[in-house]
Symmetry: C2
């Protein structure tokens, strides 16, 4: 691999001059410019990013930290981040935290040592203390974790209300909620949305809310218990689509027909929801747009552009598929 020195020698100039044409910075005679460019071409010279980074302290890499890469929501998000970073000639590094602060911290440490230019973090457990002394730009995605860190997320509260409202509209008389982990901000908002819709209804009692931890299996088990204790539940709003699949499974196991006997509405709008039987009615977030927005935002911060807002909330949307339909109680 040729170095800048080789190019300089070949073109009969100094390395400084080569560097100047490389970075299009400083004066350089048109003729020598041509000469240098020619040498670069001839030698197939590629600047060494690393050496560059060592000096400039910019690596053109960003880190994306997500809690669970096997939840399809995050690959879809990652896909957006990838496209934007690529388009801007950046590289992104995907990190999986399992929602463990320790792993998050570790990744941040490792990546900072590699001079990454910024982080996009999906986290519930990280606080400013962990970020202390980091002057690397950070944007929060999907879950906001510190007031002064720009955050891109969906309108979780409103989405939850939308979901419950829909279940109500199609005639459900007793609506339960399978929630995400308590420590996850968006799960809280979704829960709150649910509660604000049903808390004053006569059918409501606190044990209509169970915890599924954003995991399929946990959701399935929690739902089995829920449905056994309350056989008259006819609608469930589930905190995310992955868990909703678990709820679907639970219903199947108990031989409860969806949507005839039980209507289910999920949250997220991941592709997985289209493929279940019945296909999942859900509150869809603009996943790709959110990922892209977060990435663009981060790039702007990296490039020193001022960030106007600190909170970007994306609208959500009810997607009617099969798991929640107007049924027999339509007349209501």
């Amino acid at each position: 691999m040729p170095t800048i020195k080789d190019v300089a020698k070949h073109a009969n100039v100094s390395v400084a001059t080569v560097s100047r044409v490389l970075n299009e910075n400083g004066y350089v005679n048109e003729d020598t410019r041509e000469k240098v460019l020619e040498s670069i071409n001839k030698l197939d010279y590629q600047p060494n990013e690393l050496a560059r980074t060592l000096y400039t302290r910019r690596s053109r890499m960003i880190g994306l930290i997500v809690p669970d890469i096997t939840n399809p929501f995050f690959p879809e998000l990652a896909r957006a981040v990838e496209d934007v970073t690529n388009a801007k000639n950046y590289t992104f590094i995907l990190c999986n935290s399992d929602d463990q602060v320790l792993k998050e911290k570790n990744y941040i440490d490792v990546l900072r040592k590699k001079y990454v230019d910024g982080f996009i973090i999906v986290t519930s457990t990280l606080t400013n203390d962990h970020l202390e002394g980091i002057n690397t730009p950070v944007v929060a995605l999907d879950r906001n974790f510190e007031p002064d860190i720009p955050c891109v997320s969906a309108d979780n509260y409103h989405g939850a209300k939308l979901a419950v409202e829909h279940l109500h509209n199609i005639g459900c008389k007793k609506i339960a909620h399978v929630a995400g982990p308590e420590f996850v901000m968006n799960a809280q908002h979704r829960l709150r949305g649910y509660l604000d819709m049903v808390a004053d209804k006569p059918f409501f009692s606190e044990d209509l809310v169970v915890n599924g931890d954003y995991h399929l299996q946990n959701a399935k088990e929690a739902t089995m218990n829920l449905l056994k204790a309350h056989p008259d539940i006819d609608g469930i709003f589930v905190g995310n689509d992955l868990m909703a699949v678990g709820v679907l499974k639970a219903a199947e196991t108990l031989a409860i027909k969806v949507p005839d006997q039980l209507s289910i509405v999920g949250f997220d709008g991941i592709t997985l929801g289209e493929t279940t039987s019945p296909a999942l009615t859900t509150i869809a977030q603009p996943i790709y747009d959110m990922g892209a927005k977060a990435t663009n935002l981060l790039m702007d911060m990296i490039e020193g552009k001022p960030v106007e807002e600190t909170e970007y909330t994306f609208p959500v949307q009810l997607v009617e598929r099969e798991s929640a339909k107007k049924g027999m109680m339509l007349s209501e």
Copy 2:
């Protein structure tokens, strides 16, 4: 951030000495060692990986290139790679190629400039020509693409036979195949396995094989056409689980009952297959083990250990769930 110089000054030694205790290499007096260690602690010094890399040409990073991060198979694989790289103090960079040589090449270029120590590549389109001049270790995963590149994959051919055999055993009389892309090696092997089992059967005709391109939607459409043309098909071996979900969908759309009227066997053993209704009978690969093996293999190559074998084939296994069951034709 303190540098090695700061530590040297603090400990009243030269940078060389600090470097020596850092790398545990060369002689250094126990007392001065202590002293240096103390300074390192006091200053909370962290060696700059980048500067190190520039000199050693080793970055402790590897690249993982996969064709489609939104196919759950690959996150599961990535998960294994992540765990192993972390355990060995490496970082991995995930790249998505969309099965496009151009993107693959581009990623390889970019990452090489960042001095990554090795690549794990899932590809069908890359050839040695593209890797020419790369003296970075490479291992192929899931799909072998060049004879002299070590490859970790599953026994696709045998798995396919297993699948067809199972369909046969439970009484299927007319077994079709939804294949993956022709240019993908493992898809070829699976197709061959199928053909070797059925080519001499009276029911067989070439149009029992359709192409689903390893995509859910394509598989669904292809299957709709297939089932319309051959309503008497009672068993389908599908090239991967993702497509099998599409096949399930197709059957549902046509009001064909699975497994009562039609048995379906997939391939891969991804978690998604447990969550469909009916749950997917499939040929499971040891996905995590394969990912881990490939990573360990790559690490060994990076560390200069000799590689004994060049082909690591993992056994596959029939996982019986609900989409293929002994049905009415059991008596056969």
